[in-house]
């Protein structure tokens, strides 16, 4: 009961935030000038009358507040309007790219989470060992290495040098990518996923292990750890039961945040790998200033972030009894 109330309250609380963000984005775009002028600048054969027709067609000649409320009305009906390019509805475009982005992001976020736990715990336990120095070094290098550059290096090595993996796309088209001579849609998909997913995993792995190591070092100094030791609990159990549950909190927060942001894709990484995801779609939309598409993607991302935050807070409360969601 408390949970339902809490979720409702949090959802209500999101409304002003979402409205605020939509207004800011709307204003920014309005300040940008006439999108039709921008969109048609490269077309010498277009006439001013045709431009005017387009403006009317997209409702761009109405006053700002009228435009905003019309957008809001559509938004409440989950309709983001038509893209200025190609004449497709924004919803359709988002739906096309959504799953590709989600697939890539979920795989790498969950992999990074799982791998970081043993590494983070082990580095903290063996503080100042060669292992710890090695992994601390790798992880600070990891957070400093631009993710898209990592992708570039991977492509140079594994695609151009070794010819092992495809350098772009999520699917082999028109022909499937053969794995050990076998052509199968699933293998083809995995092979395309391999590099971008590895790159994104490595990038978040660096953050995760640093966070978990610091958390473990802090927790291992606490009295309750010494108390468990003084009660004869074996070290392995102390680490993976008593300490880990306390130290994993910041990682849970990060996990929630990254799932929220995941839907924005990694614009640069997706661009490097020509991954047909929302991140790359957004880059293209920003290049062309395709406002309906920009608005649509921004709102989807914002809502995903807010929902992910909410889920994070709830799971937090279920792990840490001191946090109450009342």
């Amino acid at each position: 009961m408390g949970l339902v109330k809490y979720v409702i309250r949090r959802l209500l609380y999101m409304i002003p935030l979402i409205l605020g963000i939509s207004i800011v984005v709307f204003l920014v775009m309005y300040a940008a000038g006439d999108p039709i002028q921008i969109a048609t600048a490269g077309n010498p054969s277009i006439t001013e009358a045709q431009r005017q027709f387009l403006r009317q067609y997209y409702g761009l000649d109405d006053p700002l507040h009228v435009q905003y409320f019309r957008w809001l009305d559509h938004f409440l009906h989950l309709d983001f309007g038509m893209s200025l390019y190609g004449g497709k509805p924004v919803n359709e475009i988002i739906a096309t790219y959504f799953w590709e982005t989600l697939k890539l992001q979920l795989v790498s976020i969950l992999l990074a989470f799982a791998i970081s736990i043993p590494i983070g715990v082990y580095s903290a336990v063996k503080q100042r060992s060669i292992f710890d120095y090695l992994f601390s070094g790798i992880s600070i290098a990891g957070i400093s290495f631009p993710v898209f550059f990592l992708g570039i290096v991977f492509i140079l090595v594994f695609s151009f040098q070794l010819g092992l993996l495809p350098s772009s796309g999520a699917h082999g088209a028109p022909k499937l990518w053969p794995v050990f001579g076998i052509e199968h849609p699933l293998l083809d998909e995995l092979v395309h996923l391999a590099m971008p997913a590895t790159v994104l995993t490595l990038a978040s792995l660096a953050y995760n292990t640093r966070l978990l190591r610091a958390g473990m070092l802090e927790v291992m100094r606490q009295d309750y750890i010494m108390a468990a030791r003084a009660s004869g609990i074996p070290e392995k159990k102390i680490l993976f039961k008593y300490a880990l549950k306390n130290a994993i909190m910041p990682l849970i927060t990060l996990l929630g945040l990254s799932i929220g942001f995941a839907i924005g894709g990694a614009p640069a990484t997706e661009t490097v790998f020509s991954w047909p995801g929302l991140g790359r779609a957004y880059v293209t939309a920003a290049q062309r200033l395709d406002f309906p598409l920009i608005m649509g993607i921004t709102m989807i991302i914002t809502i995903m972030i807010l929902v992910a935050n909410l889920i994070t807070d709830i799971s937090y409360a279920s792990i840490d009894p001191r946090v109450s969601i009342e």
Partner: protein, 324 residues
């Protein structure tokens, strides 16, 4: 056959920090008689807690026991394998911490953390372990012990938490219990209750209790015998009477710092601070703060000597000061 449950001889525990080697215990020697309550007394940083940690062999990094002997029931603890030592912890020797809030794991229920200990040492099923926990919680007079199993530490008050901690230490009927300032972080009224509980338990279950404290008031209430530590060295060992009658200069200073209702004398704090244990003072470690110190105290380390009736003193001037 000795009557001593615990014998500590020339124990040295050092912390190897970046700043240098901290000699937290530098040759500590004392015995604990079976069934007796002794007080381990000293200011913060004198090595009281480290003594308890050393006996359990749970000195945190970068600390290490570098020398000496610890005999428990006549067996050499320092020679034992880690796995064997683990079966002693919580079962034969237990420890109660100063701060009950930080010594209970905040994210597990009381039942979960305490049954874990029972199941670690005895091959029993979950519900049997839970029964043992309830029994221990009853022993420390925690209200609603069954319900407490499913609750988390933050749902209890400080005094209740300390009762739970005491129950945790007594789960498996240990022979020896270290209580490391168990009342320092509690309200005065709660303090009295916890002390009364400990005194009760000690009498009823024949526990051997080492009461670690800086409070001479608690010592006089609870203990027959006192060990006074200063800067990692034993200054004095003796019965309560002896220690009040003819104390070591440091003990004397400690006693003067205790407020008492029945006396109107001024409270006197000990001047100066506890010394840096990386480069401890030469000679007697207390000499820079001792009002009786002479040249000899600076140069020679005074040995711990029996001055009669089991009263041990480490002081060059004690005899002449006490008319000897």
């Amino acid at each position: 056959m000795s009557m001593n449950l615990l014998e500590i001889e020339n124990l040295k525990t050092y912390f190897f920090t970046e700043a240098g080697v901290v000699k937290a215990l530098d040759g500590v020697t004392f015995n604990v008689e079976k069934g007796c309550t002794i007080g381990l007394v000293g200011e913060s940083g004198s090595g009281k807690s480290v003594t308890a940690q050393s006996v359990l062999r749970i000195v945190p990094r970068p600390g290490r026991i570098v020398g000496g002997k610890i005999l428990f029931n006549g067996e050499d603890i320092l020679a034992k394998k880690e796995s064997e030592m683990r079966s002693y912890r919580g079962k034969k020797i237990s420890l109660i911490f100063q701060d009950p809030t930080s010594s209970l794991n905040p994210v597990f229920t009381i039942g979960n953390q305490l049954s874990d200990i029972v199941m670690q040492h005895n091959r029993v099923k979950k519900d049997e372990a839970a029964e043992a926990v309830v029994k221990a919680l009853k022993l420390v007079k925690l209200p609603d012990p069954e319900e407490a199993l499913t609750r988390y530490p933050h749902q209890f008050s400080g005094g209740m938490k300390q009762r739970i901690c005491i129950a945790r230490a007594l789960l498996l009927n240990p022979d020896l219990l270290f209580a490391d300032e168990p009342t320092t972080n509690l309200d005065v009224t709660i303090q009295a209750q916890i002390i009364a509980l400990l005194v009760d338990l000690q009498k009823n279950i024949g526990l051997t209790l080492v009461m670690i404290t800086h409070d001479m008031g608690i010592v006089t209430q609870m203990c027959k015998c006192v060990v006074v530590l200063y800067a990692g060295k034993v200054m004095e060992i003796g019965s309560i009477e002896k220690i009040f009658e003819m104390p070591h200069p440091y003990t004397e200073a400690l006693l003067k710092a205790v407020p008492r209702l029945d006396q109107t004398r001024k409270l006197i704090s000990i001047p100066g601070n506890i010394p840096n244990l990386i480069e401890p003072p030469s000679g007697c470690r207390f000499h820079p703060r001792c009002q009786y110190a002479v040249e000899r105290c600076k140069e020679e380390v005074p040995p711990l000597q029996d001055v009669g009736g089991g009263h041990m003193i480490s002081c060059h001037r004690w005899r002449e000061l006490n008319g000897g």
